[in-house]
């Protein structure tokens, strides 16, 4: 089990971004974290991956305290992390990235399978450079493929649906469902998409840096927007007191 115990994080300016959050990701389950933008969801993902270091609290991986470990150490301890904004590399081919993720040369059949899983034809993409000539959606799929190639015990995906077209989105959902069936990996998925929230074993709603609710989709989804205040939305958008 991946466990966050009373985790807090402050920005450089001292502002509290995450306040005393506790959550668990059991093996073989999908935990979806959702909530309004700016609520601290991506910060939680970065705290788990080691990009940010918690000010207070503990992160436990199968009971082992990994709070003090850096990104590399956490990656090697069993954490996979899919970036919200994929990183581009001049001169790096898709094959290079996936080989690094795999920890060694991948066989063509394995590359084909992983690329196919994220909806890309291996032959079209494997020798392409990961640069801005790839569309945002293509970059995102390659990012997800790099996490899948890691085969970690717990994966954190930060808005995996961002930039993916609706046709490929269905395939993405099936990727997570298949992972749940075929591996014991636990998945923490930060998402705004109903399709992902629907397949989660548990939904955690984070707003204002705290967990406001958590429970099964059947329990959370019908009342997901209850109590949310939209008054600060831009002109022309739905307003809570309309």
């Amino acid at each position: 089990m991946l466990e966050l115990k009373n985790i807090s994080f402050k920005a450089d300016d001292g502002k509290d971004i995450v306040k005393n959050i506790s959550l668990t990701v059991p093996e073989g389950q999908i935990v979806a974290v959702t909530g309004p933008n700016g609520g601290g969801k991506s910060t939680i993902a970065k705290l788990i991956s080691g990009i940010y270091t918690a000010c207070e609290g503990q992160i436990l991986l199968d009971g082992k305290d990994i709070t003090a470990l850096d990104i590399t150490e956490r990656a090697n301890a069993g954490i996979g992390y899919g970036f919200q904004r994929p990183v581009t590399f001049k001169g790096f081919k898709v094959r290079d990235l996936l080989n690094i993720a795999n920890g060694g040369e991948m066989a063509n059949d394995d590359l084909k399978e992983i690329m196919g899983t994220v909806g890309l034809c291996m032959y079209d993409y494997i020798d392409r450079e990961i640069n801005s000539n790839l569309s945002g959606g293509e970059q995102k799929r390659i990012e997800i493929a790099s996490v899948l190639a890691r085969k970690r015990k717990y994966n954190v995906f930060d808005e995996p649906e961002a930039g993916i077209d609706i046709w490929s989105f269905r395939r993405l959902i099936s990727v997570f469902e298949t992972l749940r069936k075929t591996s014991s990996a636990g998945q923490l998925i930060i998402s705004h998409q109903r399709g992902i929230l629907d397949i989660a074993d548990k939904i955690i709603v984070v707003s204002g840096g705290v967990v406001t609710r958590e429970g099964a989709p059947s329990e959370i989804l019908p009342t997901l927007f209850d109590g949310e205040d939209f008054r600060n939305c831009p002109v022309g958008k739905r307003c809570a007191d309309e």
Binding site: Y81, F83, G91, F92, I100
Partner: protein
């Protein structure tokens, strides 16, 4: 393996190369030479270089012209001329290795002139390397390309360490429908300096050039890149300098475009900076240490 063999191997010389056309230069003089039916190599009368004549229509042959300096005090000056016949499609593999352990300058200064015939195509591969404790290993090159109508030249050039001081001047003059492509990769370290300059004259209609230099400046090394693409007719030109800085390395990039015709389409790009933090984080999230990640990023960048 002695120093000469090590250097030759490092710059791409193989035993197989001896079966084809080649000119091997060692410490300022021609050590061995071979011609083939289609590629004739002759020594210039003063011994300061060669002329290579490639028959028109020659396809798929490769000629090797390695040059090595293995001690200080050697000033190797060479002028090589290459005449590539109409419609030929060939590869020329050059390379220069300089080794020196003692004080005193060890210098290779090479002038290469390529006369590429109508609709001919040449790929020019060039690898420069320096080894040994001396800090006075120099390689200066002047490469001039003259591309006739429909001719193509691809320059694939790398200098990935060990050369203390390098001056690299490349010019190309293009006629109608000619295409000139450059892929340069440079790595400097310690107190190395490199000055690399490109001048391309797009004189013929629909001529094209794409000059891309990628470099890494480490230690206290300094690099300077200039390019000058001159569009004198309807043509397209692109020049790009991407550089990664590490430690106290510095890079000056001055890409230049001169449009002398309203139909000249010229683009330049230059990006210099240290390795992006996100790139390091991504590779660390895949299990690499920061040092391993840096190494992978640099290897990929210079590949």
């Amino acid at each position: 393996m002695n120093k000469l063999d090590e250097l030759l191997s490092a710059i791409g010389w193989t035993d197989d190369a001896k079966n084809g056309a080649f000119s091997l230069r060692e410490n300022g003089s021609c050590a061995a030479l071979n011609s083939t039916e289609n590629i004739q190599i002759t020594r210039l009368p003063d011994g300061k270089g060669i002329e290579m004549h490639i028959k028109e229509g020659t396809k798929g042959e490769t000629a090797y012209i390695p040059a090595c300096v293995t001690k200080s005090g050697v000033h190797d000056n060479v002028v090589n001329d290459f005449y590539i016949g109409e419609g030929a499609e060939v590869t020329i593999v050059a390379g220069c290795g300089v080794h020196s352990e003692e004080k005193g300058e060890a210098l290779h200064h090479g002038v290469h002139r390529f006369f590429v015939g109508k609709n001919a195509s040449v790929t020019y591969r060039e690898k420069h390397i320096g080894t040994g404790a001396s800090e006075d290993k120099k390689i200066n090159t002047v490469s001039e390309f003259f591309l006739a109508e429909g001719a193509t030249a691809v320059v694939d050039s790398e200098q990935l360490g060990g050369v203390d001081d390098a001056q690299r001047d490349t010019t190309a003059t293009l006629e109608k429908d000619a295409v000139f492509t450059v892929r340069e990769r440079l790595l400097t370290n310690g107190s190395n300096t490199v000055d690399t300059n490109f001048v391309v004259y797009l004189n013929g209609e629909n001529s094209k050039t794409d000059v891309v230099s990628r470099s890494v400046a480490r230690g206290n090394s300094t690099q300077r890149y200039t390019s000058r693409i001159e569009g004198n007719t309807i043509c397209t030109g692109h020049t790009e300098c991407d550089a990664i800085l590490a430690e106290n390395g510095s890079v000056d990039a001055v890409p230049g475009l001169l449009a002398r015709c309203a139909d000249a389409e010229l683009i330049h790009e230059a990006a210099i900076g240290k390795i992006a933090g996100e790139q390091l984080m991504k590779l660390c999230s895949l299990g690499l240490t920061r040092e391993e990640a840096e190494q992978k990023i640099i290897e990929g960048f210079l590949k």
